[in-house]
């Protein structure tokens, strides 16, 4: 036979109180859960919205890039348009890239010449210049300059063609806009960005030479000998791998933003702005990644 239950042995008031306590506990626990839910949901709304959008945009960019690459390997190939784009994007950017290279090279040379003079190591200036310019500044500055000048132009041109129905008109006349507009620009950039980088490197090193000879009073041979010695496979590979990657970034982002622009002149303006920002940041990010990968592969660092 079972004994009396706890409830039976307790006064009525205590039973009610304990039941109320249990009820409040349930309410409090559930309210806590409710609060957690509210906080997590609002956090998700605040934080996951942009993240989700970022992944969505990245997916779209990758798909678009894939379509452009596919179009690159199919006929017809528009040679005239490609040459025209090489002229507009490459030759048109020449003075800008050369000026940037010259000024950057001179600024670096002034800084290092002064620092190295304190240690009596001015003859290392050429060596430092070749590393700074060939590996880093030449490709990056060229990439940023071309991004600012050419990427904005590509996005604005394609965007305005889209908003004025010219892209649809191309398709209506059985012309694939990717082959006609995107591929020539991609090929032109793949040829011209490395070429401009080489020009930027040469002009930058020459700027360093001017400072070395006329301000730091280093002999020309003392400057150029280490420069030539350090133009080895690793430095040249890094110096030319980067502009190729930057050309892909500039072409894919600017074309994607141009073809995806919506909403007339305002939309084209927004797309152009985004194109330059995304391209510039992507170039700096890619520069870091490529430097890390090549250092690991060639030098065995990291």
């Amino acid at each position: 036979m079972t004994g009396p239950t706890l409830g039976h042995s307790m006064p009525r008031e205590r039973v009610v109180a304990s039941e109320l306590t249990a009820f409040y506990k349930i309410i409090a626990t559930n309210f806590k859960l409710f609060l957690h839910w509210v906080v997590l949901t609002s956090m998700a709304k605040v934080k996951l919205g942009p993240l989700k959008n970022f992944f969505f945009q990245t997916e779209q960019l990758i798909c678009f890039s894939g379509r452009v690459v596919k179009a690159l390997f199919s006929r017809p190939f528009y040679l005239t348009e490609t040459l025209e784009q090489m002229y507009l994007g490459g030759v048109g950017s020449l003075w800008l890239v050369a000026l940037t290279g010259l000024l950057a090279g001179q600024a670096i040379a002034i800084n290092f010449a002064n620092e190295l003079a304190d240690f009596g190591a001015k003859n290392y200036l050429g060596r430092i210049m070749v590393l700074a310019i060939i590996r880093e500044l030449g490709p990056t500055l060229t990439g940023i300059m071309v991004a600012a000048r050419v990427a904005s132009g590509i996005t604005a041109e394609i965007g305005s063609m889209k908003s004025s129905n010219q892209i649809d008109a191309l398709r209506a006349y059985s012309i694939d806009p990717l082959k006609k507009l995107a591929v020539p620009r991609l090929v032109a950039l793949l040829i011209m960005v490395p070429a401009l980088t080489i020009i930027c490197d040469v002009v930058g090193l020459t700027g360093g030479y001017i400072i070395a000879v006329y301000m730091a009073h280093i002999s020309g041979s003392l400057y150029w000998t280490p420069v030539i010695e350090h133009l080895n496979f690793g430095n040249i590979t890094m110096g030319l791998a980067k502009p190729v990657a930057f050309a892909f970034i500039i072409a894919f982002v600017s074309l994607w933003k141009g073809f995806g622009s919506e909403g007339g002149a305002k939309g084209v303006g927004i797309a152009t702005n985004q194109s330059v920002v995304i391209t510039s940041i992507s170039i700096l990010l890619a520069n870091f990644v490529i430097t890390t990968v090549i250092f690991r592969a060639i030098k065995g660092y990291f």
């Binding site: 004025s164 129905n165 649809d168 008109a169 398709r171 209506a172 006349y173 059985s174």
Partner: protein, 262 residues
């Protein structure tokens, strides 16, 4: 008398842009050869979308588009190119390629697709410029050097030279033009429809221009066909959507009927 063959047929077509509500729902109509049809409706009602569906630039969610009795839904992009040869499209504002001259714009299709010499292309460009009543001296001008009316006529010439079309599609052909240029463009459109026995679709929200050239009218309201019939039926219609669309034009309707070419 044998009934004219349908050049264009839309059968229960529904279309929506990505992640959006349907723009068109269950749209059906057909247009025989040599007949012109004006599609009217408020801005954003889905008029221009119909033209892009006809060109195969967009694919409907459901239903089918037939061009010259051939369904274009299952067509590959390459085969769509052959179907599009039957159609000439004049886009809103002309959509001339602004990096090309008038001659290069008009001869664009021939330069891209036909194996002709520059002299042969130029000769055919000059011929078609005469058809649209433009001076041959304009051949080396850039599009921005032309007036709005001239740009539309260049766009018509480009469409005519491209494909010798059986179907002409016009998207807002008179929007932004002065009355004289608009009349010239409308007269040219009407002449092409009659002389070349072309099935014509004109999309416009300018009802008074539509009156000048249309054999029949289609009114699109919120993505559905609110009316499809003749002018007499349109005027007699008691459908609220039709009467509210016609309301602003009642006063000038009788006056403008005198301007009709048809």
């Amino acid at each position: 008398m044998a009934q004219a063959q349908d050049m264009i047929r839309l059968q229960d077509v529904t279309f929506a842009y990505e992640y959006g509500d349907p723009v068109l729902e269950g749209v059906s109509f057909c247009i025989p050869e040599g007949e012109s049809r004006v599609i009217m409706g408020q801005s954003g009602s889905g008029k221009s979308t119909i033209l892009k569906l006809l060109l195969g630039l967009y694919k409907p969610i459901s239903g089918e588009v037939y061009i010259d009795d051939e369904p274009i839904g299952p067509c590959s992009e390459q085969h769509l190119g052959d179907v599009r040869k039957k159609m000439g499209m004049v886009f809103q504002d002309g959509a001339l390629f602004d990096s090309l001259t008038v001659g290069e714009n008009v001869g664009f299709y021939l330069i891209e697709h036909e194996n002709l010499t520059i002299e042969e292309v130029e000769e055919r460009v000059r011929q078609v410029l005469k058809v649209v009543r433009l001076e041959e001296s304009l051949i080396d001008k850039m599009p921005e050097e032309l007036s709005g009316g001239m740009q539309r006529r260049v766009a018509i010439a480009r469409a005519l030279l491209a494909t010798a079309p059986k179907i002409m599609l016009y998207d807002e052909p008179t929007t932004g033009l002065d009355p004289e240029s608009a009349t010239q463009v409308l007269r040219l459109m009407h002449q092409l429809t009659r002389e070349r026995n072309i099935a014509t679709i004109v999309v416009t929200h300018q009802f008074l221009d539509a009156l000048a050239i249309a054999d029949k009218f289609i009114l699109i309201d919120k993505g559905v066909v609110a009316f499809d019939g003749s002018l007499a039926d349109l005027k007699d219609s008691e459908d609220k959507r039709v009467t509210s669309f016609l309301e602003p034009f009642r006063a000038s309707l009788r006056l403008m009927e005198e301007r009709r070419f048809v």
